[in-house]
């Protein structure tokens, strides 16, 4: 045991010498790891946010079947307002579609008017609206919101029905923006990770030069390949680890300050990812940073260090 700590002390002493000898390079190494891993973490958080919003909204998303009013002018409404028989047929068909159709709620013209007034009470347009101008509608919750086309196909252009609308269509635009942002962050992260890998290679080249005396002696006295490589591997892992810690700090700030203190207050229409997502993203950053450091260092050493 004491000999193990003794060896560890020796190896870390050698690594520390290497780090302090080329301090600017070490700082550059840590900084690129910090930036690339932070970007990677941000792209992961955006991903978490997208699925968080999907869960949140898909829960509330409904398909609306708007019935014809006296003012409707679509071809399916030539027969005038929807008749009671048509309404009963629609309800029966919807009930036949269980379990996909999970909930059915009929909104009368008065219900629609009350909701409209509530929503636009500050606006002058509410003064000119009467209940008979607003359509009756069936509001439907689906057990699997992805399958809304089944409902659309069944009811579209049916006499008495003016329109079938899925709120998902509106949301998917928002999601595509978010997905685009995530892809962008991920792309930047990948580019930065490539830069980081190049810098790891360069750091090893410089370190190998700075340590050439030690390396020469180590080779001469028969140090194993692993003993020769260990200081380089540790230096790269050190950079990745400190960079990963920094990224963890950045992600925690994003969650604890940016999201919880600022954004959450002004955007009440959605929930946000929780701390679990931050923990997961940070772990992924630390692990992938370390793996990147190990792999690039290993190949970098092979290039600069012969047995």
């Amino acid at each position: 045991m004491s000999s193990l700590t003794n060896r560890t002390k020796f190896v870390f002493g050698e690594v520390w010498q290497g780090i302090s000898r080329s301090i600017t390079l070490t700082i550059a190494l840590i900084a690129t790891f910090a930036i690339s891993l932070s970007l990677l973490g941000v792209s992961l958080l955006v991903g978490s946010q997208v699925s968080e919003m999907k869960d949140y909204w898909f829960d509330k998303v409904e398909v609306s079947i708007f019935l014809c009013t006296s003012g409707s002018d679509t071809p399916s409404c030539v027969g005038g307002p929807a008749t009671p028989e048509q309404k009963t047929a629609i309800r029966n068909d919807l009930e036949a579609m269980q379990p996909l159709v999970a909930e059915i709620f009929f909104e009368s013209q008065q219900d629609a008017y009350d909701r409209f007034i509530e929503r636009f009470k500050a606006s002058p347009i509410s003064a000119n609206v009467t209940p008979d101008q607003l359509p009756e509608s069936f509001r439907i919750k689906l057990s699997n919101p992805e399958e809304f086309t089944a409902v659309v196909n069944k009811f579209l252009s049916r006499p008495g029905i003016e329109a079938v609308r899925d709120q998902r269509a509106t949301l998917s635009k928002l999601f595509s923006v978010l997905n685009g942002l995530r892809a962008l962050a991920f792309g930047f992260a990948l580019a930065m990770l490539v830069v980081t890998a190049l810098l790891v290679g360069n750091t090893i080249r410089v370190t190998a030069f700075a340590r050439r005396r030690e390396i020469g002696i180590m080779r001469l006295v028969g140090a194993s390949k692993m003993a020769l490589r260990m200081p380089f591997l540790l230096e790269a892992i050190f950079g990745a680890f400190i960079g990963g810690i920094f990224a963890t700090g950045v992600l925690s700030l994003i969650k604890g300050y940016l999201i919880d203190q600022i954004i959450a207050n002004s955007f009440s229409f959605t929930s946000f990812f929780g701390w679990q997502a931050v923990v997961t993203a940070s772990l992924i950053c630390l692990v992938s940073g370390t793996v990147l450091a190990l792999v690039t260092a290993w190949f970098g050493i092979a290039k600069h260090l012969k047995i």
Partner: protein, 248 residues
């Protein structure tokens, strides 16, 4: 176990002094693909416990012989054997083991300036993961052997050239190698210091270590009266027991 042949344990034990330990057979080597050969058709044998001078003009190929023995270079043709191990066939992972059994010193000492004398010697053990107990025991012993125990805490720059070379010899010996190779070890030293170093090498040889020394120094070779292998233009032109530097 003091001998190199870990790969062939059968030959390790019961080896009598005088048996052939190092064997060059028609060895040729070159540094660049189409360049002149640095060594051509070199053959010789060195027995366990011998003291051998490699002499010859600058560029003759002395260092190349030593580099082949620590597998710093590979021969182009022919075979270099140590204790029946063909170094040309040696796998990369076995090279460190070979080098642990060969101590090597150079003209320029190659000490680490940031470390003290005892740290410099201990370094050779630390990189081999030796225990602290073993290091604490071996380092003072070998420093005592080269007569530098009282200067163990100095740095290389605080020592004379001869003393620095003795530190290098201590470091080369600290792993108890079977062979000590010295490439112009006295090249940077004045005549008196040179004599001291030669005395030390002789003492190490008398304790059982095979010593191979490449040198220009005619005076030393003449004085020591050991075996001399002379190389000219990559070829052996003389191999003489109890020889002198040149015929002149």
């Amino acid at each position: 176990m003091r001998r190199v042949s870990r790969a062939s344990p059968a030959s390790t034990d019961n080896v009598k002094s005088g048996e052939k330990m190092i064997k060059f057979e028609n060895v040729s080597m070159t540094y660049s693909k189409n360049g002149l050969p640095a060594l051509s058709e070199v053959s010789f044998e060195i027995a366990d416990g011998e003291f051998v001078f490699l002499v010859g003009q600058s560029g003759a190929g002395k260092s190349s012989v030593l580099r082949l023995l620590i597998r710093e270079e590979k021969s182009l043709t022919g075979s270099v054997m140590i204790d029946d191990v063909d170094l040309g066939q040696l796998k990369e992972k076995d090279i460190p083991q070979l080098r642990r059994n060969i101590g090597m010193v150079f003209q320029d000492f190659r000490l680490l300036p940031d470390k003290t004398i005892s740290e410099n010697v201990a370094f050779a053990l630390q990189v081999l993961n030796k225990t602290k107990a073993e290091i604490n025991q071996t380092v003072p012993a070998v420093l005592d052997l080269v007569g530098l125990l009282d200067k163990a805490n100095r740095r290389p720059e605080q020592l004379s050239g001869g003393e620095q070379q003795r530190v290098a010899i201590a470091r080369a010996l600290v792993n108890r190698p079977a062979i000590l190779m010295a490439d112009e070890p006295t090249g940077n030293l004045d005549p008196d210091t040179t004599v001291e170093i030669m005395r030390l090498l002789d003492q190490i040889n008398k304790a059982g270590t095979t010593v191979i020394m490449a040198t220009h120094d005619a005076g030393i070779v003449d004085q020591m009266r050991k075996r001399v292998i002379e190389i000219t233009g990559g070829q052996i032109v003389r191999d003489q027991a109890r020889g002198v530097y040149g015929y002149s």
